[in-house]
Symmetry: C2
Subunit: 329 residues, 2 copies
DNA sequence: TTGAAAGCGCTAACAG
DNA sequence: CTGTTAGCGCTTTCAA
């Protein structure tokens, strides 16, 4: 039989209400009472039942995190940041891998709703009408990470993908590169595809460089697609001196292709990645990449979840992590 | 105001008990009643409250996962496997990053206990007396992953580290290598340190090869320690032709050091890793490594959590993933 | 096949 | 400062 609050009350000779006040750090009891109760708690080995608390109090101190993947370095870093801050704030986190699958996402939304989580972090995916409607109906705080939703207006924390892509491209241009390839997410992807393509393109235009379809190859942000895309670019674009890659993992794929074909980075071709995960650090050569503060974004998202008053969107600063995969020509 | 079970009951003209039976797929109602209730549920948009269910029924359909890290590929793969199977079985998973920190671990244990999770998966760390005692007192199923505990006897799923290290070492020996270095976890580490050292050592002995302290270097399983350990080994061991590394991530570190110093893998030196995470696949050259079925271990752990009757420990099969970092001499 | 009613363990007015 | 008393929303005997 497990010990409950009323057992403590009985043993301490006070009412349940008083015990409740004490374990919740509310006011309204003498020091003496507190001591008696604390002693009783200790002696009985009492431990509050969070489920009962959740029912009675309406807060579960739990948040749900929806992510399209659990096996990328990006998602790992993000979860790490979220878990860290949540724990600091007294919240537990339930992870939900949507696998970029609509049904699975809706299913998780229903589960989180039934479990009465206090907030939801939704990351890296487009908020469809169905998702957004459901989230809205739940009536709990929602924060978007690395995505945004004009339609529903949930607060977000992210990097400006367009500007970041501009920065990365510009970095190559400033390094003297003129024939630059882009391994990108698909143009139909409204979060990590189109905006970065726009940034890349406008950097080219601003420098008076031509924009040629041949210099674009598309991937799914993962390793294998990076290999394939690099192969395409290499066979198709004469005089290519640099490539901007829309994820570090695809950059590693590109690197693998190049290595396999004895094309030296950065001597023969320069490569810049995107994300700045550990992958970039561990690449050979170490990858110069566009840095996103992923861990921090996770922490920030948790804070925003519980901010009172109007919540402001946050654009996190990006930067270039200079390493060894780009050379000046 | 949120709609509750009693609202459904009223609308359908039946009792709460009947509605409860229906949504829980129990028996004891006519088809007609079921239809009436289902209609009412639909019309009202009723959604069960899992917190109330948890209180009344004593099951939360939630499990807790304790891990020493959230940023390694190993932990990501493991969580992936756990989440996948848990979701299939109707369970949610709360992730707990212990950071290999005793206080933080105990804190999480307390939280999970208060939240009344239905089971706990404890991974990759030694079960101290304090942890084990607490886990035991919780009185819920516990499964260990990649660790074990003679003292407490919790069921486990893991690879036999000693045998696996033997296999990896033997693979190098069979490839003609005689002067083999080992980048290992510390000998004080009872789970991924000592057992693998034992396996490495006995492979050497069985082949009639000398065991020399000089050929051991120690790391913490992460990238930087791999760099340092490789440097140590390289400067200290003449005629080294191969190195066994106790994690893929350290192997990447070793690779980075070697690359930096223009020592070719596998031409000048062979390298075999441990884990077979994506890191191994993406390394250059692609890393030959000892394969652990990490994802599967996660899924298996979830199954074991809810197996009825005596639970059997499971030793998962390991194997060698042959790629390009080892050559025969 | 169905319903009444007693909890599950805690919080939150309200009253004193 | 402290206690009484309703719930929170659902499950589960027990009886009908």
């Amino acid at each position: 039989m497990t010990i409950k609050l009323s057992d403590v009350a009985k043993k301490a000779g006070v009412s349940s209400a008083t015990v409740s006040r004490i374990i919740n750090n509310l006011s309204g009891y003498s020091d003496e009472t507190r001591r008696k109760v604390e002693t009783a708690i200790k002696e009985l080995g009492y431990k509050p039942n969070a489920v009962a608390r959740g029912l009675a109090g309406g807060k579960t101190h739990t948040i749900g995190v929806l992510q399209p993947s659990l096996s990328s370095r990006f998602s790992a870093e993000l979860i790490h940041g979220i878990e860290n801050e949540a724990h600091r704030c007294g919240y537990s986190v339930i992870i939900c891998n949507t696998d970029s699958n609509g049904e699975r996402t809706m299913e998780y939304l229903r589960i989180l709703s039934e479990k009465r989580v206090d907030g939801i972090i939704f990351a890296s995916e487009w908020v469809t009408g169905e998702y957004g409607g459901y989230l809205q109906d739940m009536g709990i705080p929602v924060v978007l990470v690395s995505t945004h939703s004009p339609q529903f207006g949930f607060p977000y924390v992210r990097v400006d993908d367009c500007q970041a892509a501009y920065t990365a491209t510009r970095y190559l241009i400033d390094g003297g590169h003129r024939r630059i390839g882009f391994i990108s997410g698909r143009p139909e992807d409204p979060i990590a595809g189109a905006p970065r393509i726009a940034g890349f393109t406008s950097a080219l235009k601003d420098a008076g460089l031509p924009v040629d379809d041949k210099f674009f190859a598309y991937g799914d942000f993962h390793f294998n697609s990076g290999i394939a895309a690099m192969e395409t670019l290499w066979s198709r674009c004469l005089g290519l001196t640099a490539v901007f890659t829309s994820s570090d993992e695809m950059a590693l794929g590109a690197l693998a292709f190049l290595h396999e074909n004895e094309i030296k980075v950065p001597d023969d071709i320069s490569l810049i990645g995107y994300d700045d995960t550990l992958d970039a650090l561990m690449a050979m050569p170490a990858l110069t990449t566009l840095h996103q503060p992923i861990f921090e974004m996770g922490g920030k998202a948790v804070q925003m979840l519980f901010e009172r008053g109007p919540v402001n969107n946050i654009i996190m600063q990006h930067s270039i992590s200079e390493r060894k995969s780009v050379r000046t020509i």
